[in-house]
């Protein structure tokens, strides 16, 4: 693995909500340190930085007016609530399939030195990647991903 300046971080953000501030701020810091950043997001609304190489799985937010009902404050439907209780969030699992079936997304995943599963929806895919790549490559928190970059950059 090559990390430190010149290394590549992939941010997985497969949830429906906009990216958390802590992630966007970290991305700006990493970019300033010379780290190359890419992102796989569900919709174009989640934007990491102006220069991030980004693959978007859906062309626009879901819902009739192009607004994801869950982020527009509308309550989830009863079937969706039931599925979530069973940990079968349809969006979460569908997003995994979309990533695996997108050649562009697969290339980003393959080229990343460090992967950040930035939201809960990205955890199952992140976990699968972590099982294949081993320790110290796929993280759930920004601080852990930053530590991995710093540790490897240290002489």
């Amino acid at each position: 693995m090559t990390t430190g300046p010149g290394s590549r971080v992939l941010v997985l953000a497969l949830g429906r909500d906009p990216l958390p501030t802590v992630v966007t701020e970290a991305a700006l810091r990493w970019e300033a340190d010379g780290v190359s950043i890419s992102a796989v997001t569900l919709t174009p609304r989640a934007r990491l930085t102006a220069t991030t190489a980004q693959v978007t799985l859906l062309r626009r937010p879901a819902g009739s007016a192009g607004i994801d009902p869950s982020t527009a404050g509308e309550p989830r439907s009863t079937p969706r609530k039931a599925l979530r209780k069973l940990h079968l969030d349809p969006v979460r699992w569908a997003a995994i399939l979309l990533v695996l079936s997108s050649p562009q997304a697969r290339r980003l995943v393959a080229g990343a030195d460090v992967v950040l599963a930035a939201d809960p929806a990205s955890v199952p895919l992140g976990w699968v990647l972590a099982r294949r790549r081993g320790e110290g490559k796929v993280f759930r928190t920004v601080s852990a991903a930053s530590r991995a970059l710093n540790d490897a950059a240290r002489p």
């Binding site: 940990h87 955890v123 976990w127 790549r133 320790e135 993280f139 759930r140 530590r147």
Partner: protein, 443 residues
Amino acid sequence: MPLKGARPHLLYVAWGFPPCRSGGVYRALATANAFARDGWDVTVLTIERDLWERRTGVDPALEERVDPRIRIERIPFDWPVLEDDLSRWPALRALAPRAWVKARNLLDQRTFPEKVYGPWRRHLERATERIHAEHPVDLVVATTNPHVSITAALHLAQRYGVPYVVDYRDAWSLDVFSGRRRHPEGSTVNTWERRALEGAQEVWFVNEPIVQWHRTTYPAAAAHMHVVANGYDEPAAGSQARRTDTPLRFTYVGTISGKVPIPELVAGWARAREQEPLLVDAEADLYGYLGYYGAAHPELADALSTGAEVGVRYRGPVSKTLVSELYAASDALLLVLGTGRYVTSGKVFEYLATGLPIISVHDPGNAASEVLKGYPLWFPASDLSPDGVAAALRAGAHAAASHEPVAQAAGRAFAERYSREHQLRPRITALRAAVGATSVETM
């Protein structure tokens, strides 16, 4: 009992010990150092440094304050919920996170009824056994929380008859913020607590309201319960002579958690600035960590953002070693505390030691009010409304602007009763007598 002339051996159990930077660590540091100064062989049993270094941050300057005669035994502490490398996550956690949390909670409490910390019991008991075999322990002081620390004391008491003290500080069964009982009579927690308190040589608490609650709840242990207030370590440096042409500077130092009424302080400050010329250019600087784990509560973040527009500024954390310089450069101190009849705070004692005006922004029924009652430069808010806070700030500003050395000296004289030395000395003397050793105090 130690052999005649031998130094008694204290085993001090504290989950949080330097370089940990949490609020409670100062008491642990002061207690271990006080026993070492009194001529005890002190072994501190605590967790590995890794957790502090990787998760919560450290204060290296605090570690330098540990008496070099103290032996520190660091043992593992697992905190699976904080594991952030997904390769170490079990499948259940990745695929069914809520089910994993439920399972984890059950597993954590299998041997001791405390989420997250329960599994530490295994490491504690193994370590106490080894330490006692290497150098027999004459007294255990187990400091909470986490409450699992008491298992180390109970283990040596049960197996070898070693007396123990529980430094409870706050409470386990009592919610100090709401005043409600958290664990009912007959619960597993209640059973452990009763056993720990009734078998103890002494039990220490930080303030009188908490002691009273426990005396009522566990009358069989009432005679062994004592107040050991947090106190202050050393008097702060004298404040610099105030220049009348500079704006007043107010300071807050402490962890800024979601319970601290910063939004109320900001609202009161804004109101006071409209009413009081002395406050128009004044500044309130807030120092401390945001939350216990380094993240600000959203409501708090909003308040800090609003505050920056009216002169209330968050300045970030500050090392304990630099706090006295901050006090010396301040004209008045802001005591902003969460609500609760049972809530005191370490900083109230530090504040007292400065002799500076103290503006209280907390519920008047807070236990800190009992500590401050009689302090000549105390300006408490009558309530947490903008007007209540503003009135206290205005009164404090006038006292700060006049900067009377006589009043400051009177304040410091009042504070002497709350030095750590004053709080710990009677207890250490009593415990030395209890374990049958003679005093060999050293510096």
